[in-house]
């Protein structure tokens, strides 16, 4: 009896394995099976993407798409491993963080020829158009959305305290932001004006933003290399960078909970939605979470402040996108999926669900909310180039150092905030790091 049972189990196991193998091959009639890896998966986002892919499959019965969405924390490693091992993968999400690395390693398919006849690109925003191709004219991604910072604030707190933001423009400076954050702070009541994220790329809170604004766009090496000055040295060698760190220190000491030195993204967002902090600086992907967790009318968004002296701020351009691995066996079919996802209507729908800035100027025609409400600060920033300069967007090999820099600068900044490190020494170290990278990999030669 036992032998019989063992035999049955073995046969079942073999049958199961064969079934799985058959499933992973192409087959299933005439259908082409594409594997699609999502990098920033979440319950709602994956569902939104899956719904669009279902729509595509209904219109294209010869293609079936298997969407894989590894856990967020390990998705980068998982996708990198798949690319290195050349596992079947036909479509993938390529973030601006990883794009330079993927291109440098030859892992992405050059979409230049496909783009030649792609009419939808006509309505791409200027920011996307200017950063679509690399310096040699290659195109590796179909843009999916842009991320940009803005200020989120508690409307109810502002009313209660009789505070008002200056109109966006010349008066709306980092100093004005600090004054409001300070006025909101009342530790006795457990209220703080600012939710600082000290534990995850915290140099992007004030250090880099203030430094670029204080330095002034004209003093940057070029619009493609905002991290270097006209002299070809790192911006971290300037007084403007010191001003950036001092701002971070001021906001931490006077306006944020002591604990925020170690906060990650989730802590920062929770502190705002749970009524501990009155303001934070974040990308638009927080909108969805606040819509779900906060009462309408209690919070709103505002454009980024500018420098009090230069009267400008430099915002990063660029986008995250969809791409295909260089080794895909189905480039034609994969391109059809990319072309579908990149179209103005589909992109607007996806961006609304996910909460990122759409890549088409016509997005508001499909989703009205992009021209009003929580997204309005972007419209203001994009339409006031006298205050908001845009930079970056080109995938230079040395920019992949951002990931390493983000981690090591967190350690340094935490030590500065806790009085355990010297600002000048840290800035010197940062400057050396970036200059070494640029020297090794070369700068922009377009």
């Amino acid at each position: 009896m036992k032998k019989l049972l063992a035999l049955c189990l073995t046969l079942a196991l073999i049958a199961g394995m064969m079934g799985a193998m058959a499933g992973s091959a192409v087959a299933d009639g005439e259908k082409v099976h594409l594997v699609f890896a999502e990098r920033y998966g979440s319950t709602t986002r994956t569902a939104a993407l899956r719904a669009l892919l279902d729509e595509f499959e209904a219109e294209n019965p010869d293609i079936e798409i298997e969407l894989i969405s590894p856990p967020l924390e390990s998705s980068q490693q998982k996708i990198t491993q798949m690319l290195m091992a050349k596992n079947q993968l036909d479509l993938l999400e390529v973030t601006s963080w990883e794009r330079a690395q993927y291109i440098e390693n030859g892992w992405l398919y050059n979409l230049k020829d496909f783009f030649t006849d792609y009419a939808e690109q006509e309505t791409f925003t200027d920011s996307v158009k200017s950063s679509l191709a690399t310096t040699d004219g290659s195109i590796y991604c179909m843009p999916l959305g842009c991320y940009e910072r803005m200020i989120y604030y508690r409307v109810d707190w502002m009313k209660e305290l009789g505070l008002e933001f200056p109109e966006p423009g010349e008066e709306w400076t980092f100093d004005a932001l600090y004054d409001i954050a300070k006025a909101m702070t009342d530790p006795e009541k457990g209220r703080y004006g600012w939710a600082l994220r000290g534990g995850g790329n915290s140099y992007q809170q004030f250090v880099q933003q203030v430094a670029l604004a204080a330095l002034g766009f004209d003093n940057l090496l070029s619009e493609y290399e905002p991290l270097f000055t006209k002299e070809g040295t790192s911006i971290y060698r300037t007084e403007a960078a010191k001003k950036g760190i001092e701002f971070q220190l001021k906001f931490y000491k006077d306006c944020s909970p002591a604990d925020s030195v170690a906060w990650l993204f989730s802590d920062q967002v929770n502190a705002f939605s749970s009524g501990i902090c009155g303001m934070l600086m974040q990308d638009c992907d927080c909108i969805g979470s606040f819509v779900d967790s906060m009462e309408e009318g209690t919070w709103a968004t505002y454009p980024m402040p500018i420098d009090a002296v230069t009267k400008e701020a430099t915002i990063g351009r660029g986008f995250d996108g969809w791409g295909m691995p260089s080794y895909t066996e189905h480039p034609e079919e994969a391109w059809r999926v990319l072309a579908f996802l990149g179209s103005a209507e589909i992109n607007a729908r996806f961006c609304k669900e996910y909460g990122v800035i759409p890549v088409h100027t016509t997005a508001a025609e499909y989703e009205e909310s992009f021209s009003t409400g929580y997204y309005a600060p972007y419209i203001y920033m994009f339409s006031h180039p006298e205050y908001y300069k845009s930079s970056g967007g080109v995938d230079l090999p040395y920019t992949s150092y951002s990931s390493e820099f983000g981690k090591s600068s967190d350690v340094d900044l935490q030590n500065i905030l806790l009085g355990n490190a010297d600002i000048d020494e840290v800035l010197e170290k940062w400057a050396e790091g970036w200059e070494e990278q640029r020297e090794e990999y070369g700068g922009y030669e377009g």
């Binding site: 440098e104 030859g106 604990d259 170690a262 802590d267 390493e404 981690k407 030590n415």
Partner: protein, 306 residues
């Protein structure tokens, strides 16, 4: 007689073959998923190998090790790791042992109490980090709320358990202790069940007290279990980077960074496989030395099989 010998030889041969086939799947799996990645990873430690740019991969000799031993961040992980392992181990072992002795006695609700103690062991290290990160949060964490309610902490100045340079590491160790107690309780409790009650009864007749019984009967009898469990646990604690990653990410200012979490950071944030492999190799060497010295000092071989 000769035929018997022949049969015996054939049986032995058949037995050996049987043993080999029974062991083969296990050996194969361990070789494939443990030794192969380990051995194939060694050469990377001597290479410049970064996923950020694979075209610049090349042999660089001991450069990765040289860089590591001149980096303040890495050097800081050495004392951190020693403290992390020894303080956690001693506290986990002591509390775990006490609970195991306590649970040896029969009392009402023992099953529920056991379940509560064993529960943390069933939770992943990563999840524990997230859970305790919330508990420790100064702004909305329950621990501060409790201390404030008890009047021990000023509401305007809550304790930043994970954000203060002085409290972050002890807080991380406290979390690790909470997690690891269950392991020792389970293991030691199981070992205690094997101690014959006759020994205690006989010693009582001879007038031995509880303390004497503990040191002369209990401890010697379960000594092999204690040696092996502490050795295994020390290695696991050494490698318990998932807790650090989800609890503090090594912060603030690198104060809670241990060697394994540093290695993890090199892979996750820097894609620097070469340098991470060098750290991995250092870890392997340290653990080999530690295991050998520990087993020698504890005279483990003299204990025989158990």
């Amino acid at each position: 007689m000769r035929s018997n010998k022949k049969n015996l030889a054939r049986n032995t041969k058949r037995d050996r073959l049987f043993i080999f086939f029974m062991l083969a799947p296990g050996i194969l799996l361990v070789a494939l998923f443990c030794y192969y990645p380990f051995l194939s990873g060694i050469p990377y430690a001597f290479k410049r190998y970064s996923l950020l740019n694979l075209s610049r991969t090349k042999w660089i000799g001991l450069k990765n090790f040289e860089t590591l031993f001149t980096e303040k961040e890495f050097l800081q992980t050495i004392p951190n790791t020693i403290k992390w392992v020894f303080i956690s181990l001693i506290l986990q072992f002591t509390i775990g042992f006490m609970l195991a002795l306590f649970l040896k006695n029969k009392f009402r609700g023992r099953g529920i109490y056991q379940g509560v103690i064993f529960f943390p062991w069933a939770v992943s290290g990563f999840l524990i980090g997230i859970l305790w990160r919330w508990i420790y949060n100064a702004a909305y964490g329950p621990l501060n709320a409790l201390l404030i309610a008890l009047g021990l902490v000023n509401p305007a100045n809550p304790i930043g358990f994970l954000s203060n340079l002085d409290t972050a590491f002890p807080s991380a160790i406290a979390t690790n202790v909470w997690y690891g107690i269950a392991f020792f309780t389970i293991t030691i409790q199981a070992a205690l069940q094997g101690v014959p009650t006759e020994l205690y009864e006989a010693s009582e007749v001879d007038g031995a007290g509880k303390v004497y019984q503990f040191f002369k009967i209990t401890v010697p009898y379960i000594r092999p279990v204690l040696i092996l469990s502490t050795l295994l646990r020390s290695i696991w604690i050494f490698n318990f980077a998932d807790l650090i990653y989800s609890l503090t990410r090594g912060g603030p200012g690198g104060t809670t960074e241990i060697m394994t979490s540093y290695m993890l950071n090199l892979i996750i944030f820097q894609s620097n496989i070469g340098k991470a492999s060098a750290v991995g190799l250092i870890i392997i060497v340290l653990l080999l030395i530690w295991s050998t010295v520990y087993l020698k000092l504890s005279r483990f071989e003299e204990e025989g099989d158990f």
